[in-house]
Amino acid sequence: MKKIMRAAALGGAVALALAACGSAPEETEPTAGAGSAGDSDFKACMVSDQGGWDDQSFNQSGYEGLKLAEKELGVEVNAVESTADSDYGPNIDSLIQDGCTYIIGVGFLLEPAIQAAAEANTDIEFGLIDSSFSDDEFNTIELDNAKPLLFNTAEAAFLAGYVAGATTETGIVGTFGGLPIPSVQIFMDGFVDGVAQWNEDSGENVQVLGWDKAKQEGQFSGDFETQSNGQNIAQGFLDQGADIIMPVAGPVGLGAAAAVEGKPGAKVIWVDSDGFESTEYGPIVLTSVMKEIGQAVYDSIQQASEGDFSNEPYVGTLENEGVGLAPFHDFEDAVPAEVKDRITELQEQIVSGELVVESPNAP
């Protein structure tokens, strides 16, 4: 046994040594102030919510937009992760100290912190994903130096609901959220309406578990972190006969996907990014309700870096491709052609304004 260990250790050491045998790169003189970094003092920065940059969802999309801006626009960037609600204020403060001129908060949970910082630092521009600003009397207000980046995801979720209704074999589908907040509930509203549209078209009666749109009540896992809660809720849906589940809970959805994977034939609809590519559960991802946070972030950084910052809210829709339905990937053949045609038709109707997906949570 000891001999084997020794041999393994030696082998490992040799492998490491060989790996270290590459040739050194040529010394390059650092060119001072290369590129556009020296042109201006512009610095785009970002604060995550508790999910962190690796949530395979919402924060990650925003971070990718920031990184893209760094690469494509050559702007200076910085990003900090929050681990608790109490981090938001101090993290924004440390970015201000770091010389950031445009600071984006990812997630409505940062609203109070971004609003306070925007009011206190009128010379710095701010962006906030998924929330507008409001005063104590529940009125929406505008801040001169802060831009909300919003998404009407109900439109895309509507299409996903339609697909779910059309492809379920058990006649039962489910959805749950992370927290009962507008930016989550709007997915669930659209999903429920999409299923209802399928029921109307086909005369079937597909049930949706987990969300009652009329009452605005449903099932929530309680946070955007604890994957086991997602797993439990999804298992509950599966036990009640659901075969397609749409978790709207960031990384908590991974727990749901783990439960779904255990039941043959069951599928998930991912949200925010294309789950076929961003998660390891590609083979069970029917489709994804995409929210192009990265693109919105990139565009807003581009505007701000060119001095064209405006506090006008950005609203992502099917029309401007700020939201959309991801390809079916492995399930391309499982979705009937007439359903695909109908989805294209519905999408056109939504874009043209002929069909309006109503949601009390719409921006």
């Binding site: 910085n78 109490s86 993290n91 100290q97 770091d98 949970l109 104590d136 907040i181």
Partner: protein, 419 residues
């Protein structure tokens, strides 16, 4: 954190070197095990554990750095690059950690330069208070995992008093803090009563209560009483109920810090000087002996939980009234679990808990700047904290690394000689 109720070590319960009060002995359902062993380890061990954690953290920081990774590829062609990159990465990360936690010599103004230390102390306030509560539980033989829920309840009551009542400044704050303490105490007492009456294990019950507390807040935040314009954020507490700042604008350090120190003093008096504290310790050391001596073990269990809960509730109150001002679902953050570590690190003594709380506050404050200035992942801070717990919980490992003698070694040899 997993449960430290590990199999008992082979050696006899060791005598604490500098504090004979925490007499280790059998508790009812836990034989002298890890908890006793950990509480009895020396100050030197604690320092060694921190040093060891920092060393391993340094390796991880270096390994995660892209410059180090690329220069490792041609280590033999030009080793200087690799070692420079390693040194640069580690030194800049730890320098930023220090700058963010104690004194920032690179700051724009003198005010910003001294601000980090005040941030460290600010963050330490709830950690110290909750850590004191957890520590009392440890010494009475109760493993109270429920600080998280008790903090949450404290925060709920503090915020409710803070925005619904209208009282003069000072009185309002006092009432809100008392409310916080009561909230935490009641929540913890549920576990205490269940343990005393039915024997339900406090670990299970308090964990369950943590979950209930989280969902209770989420529910309350949807009710008209707590709701604010921002979803999942509670109403703003009146200025009169806020803990006043100690240093004026630009600093967050508030009255909570001296209060936490006072609480530590109070706990010291309670545990070391009062009859009640003596009963707590007696039951913690040996419930059978305590019962034989005429003490009511159920009474002690309930009281310990209530006191521990009150302290955790105060932590929630201090967090809400000191810095946060609005109730949120995650108001307790990870304070409740960090408090377990703080209590372990401080070996459940008030002074130790204060120092451990400040250390963890320093990690949190420093971690933010380390992340902003050097891009070191914030997760490193969690790794450091976790490594410290690991080493604290594995005294033989640390002893082996630093070649220290086991605390019971001398005693055992003399005992053997006597036999």
């Amino acid at each position: 954190m997993s449960q430290p109720a590990a199999p008992p070590p082979a050696q006899p319960p060791s005598e604490p070197q500098d504090a004979p009060v925490a007499a280790p002995a059998a508790t009812e359902e836990r034989p002298p095990g890890l908890l006793q062993d950990v509480l009895a380890s020396s100050w030197l061990m604690t320092v060694c554990a921190i040093v060891l954690a920092l060393v391993i953290g340094a390796v991880l920081i270096a390994a995660a750095d892209p410059d180090v990774q690329s220069s490792a590829g041609y280590l033999f062609a030009r080793p200087s690059d690799f070692f420079t990159a390693v040194w640069q990465t580690i030194s800049s990360a730890y320098a930023a950690l220090f700058q963010g936690a104690v004194f920032d010599w690179a700051a724009a103004s003198p005010q910003r330069a001294i601000r980090p230390l005040t941030e460290t102390l600010t963050i330490s306030v709830p950690l110290i208070l909750a850590g004191l509560g957890v520590g009392i539980g440890f010494r009475a033989g109760l493993f109270n995992i429920g600080a998280q829920g008790q903090i949450t309840l404290g925060a709920i009551l503090a915020s409710w008093v803070g925005f619904t009542w209208h009282l003069p400044a000072g009185l309002h704050l006092a009432v809100a803090m008392v409310g916080a303490a009561i909230g935490g105490a009641v929540w913890a007492s549920i576990a205490g009563v269940l343990k005393a009456r039915t024997g339900a294990h406090e670990v299970i019950v308090t964990i369950m209560l943590n979950n209930i507390a989280v969902f209770l807040v989420l529910y309350l935040l949807t009710t008209s009483v707590f709701r604010s314009p921002t979803p999942q954020v509670g109403r703003t507490v009146a200025e009169t109920a806020m803990l006043p700042g100690l240093l004026g604008d630009g600093f967050r350090l508030h009255l909570g810090f001296p209060l936490a120190l006072l609480a530590a003093l109070g706990v010291w008096w309670l545990m070391e000087r009062s009859t009640v504290g003596f009963r707590f310790r007696a039951v913690g050391s040996n419930p059978h002996a305590a019962r034989t001596a005429g003490m009511s073990v159920p009474w002690v269990t309930i009281t310990v939980m209530a006191v521990a809960g009150a302290l955790a509730g105060l932590a929630g109150g201090a967090q809400l009234l000191g810095t946060e001002r609005n109730l949120t679902g995650a108001i307790a953050g990870s304070i409740g679990f960090d408090a377990l570590t703080v209590a372990l690190l401080g070996r459940s003594k008030p002074l130790g808990t204060v120092l451990a709380g400040i250390l963890f506050g320093a990690f949190a404050a420093g971690g933010r700047l380390m992340q902003t200035r050097t891009g070191t992942p914030i997760d490193i801070v969690l790794v450091l904290q976790s490594l410290i717990v690991l080493f604290i919980a594995a005294p033989p490992l640390v002893r082996a690394v630093f070649r220290l003698r086991a605390p019971g070694e001398r005693r055992r040899s003399t005992a053997e000689a006597a036999a």
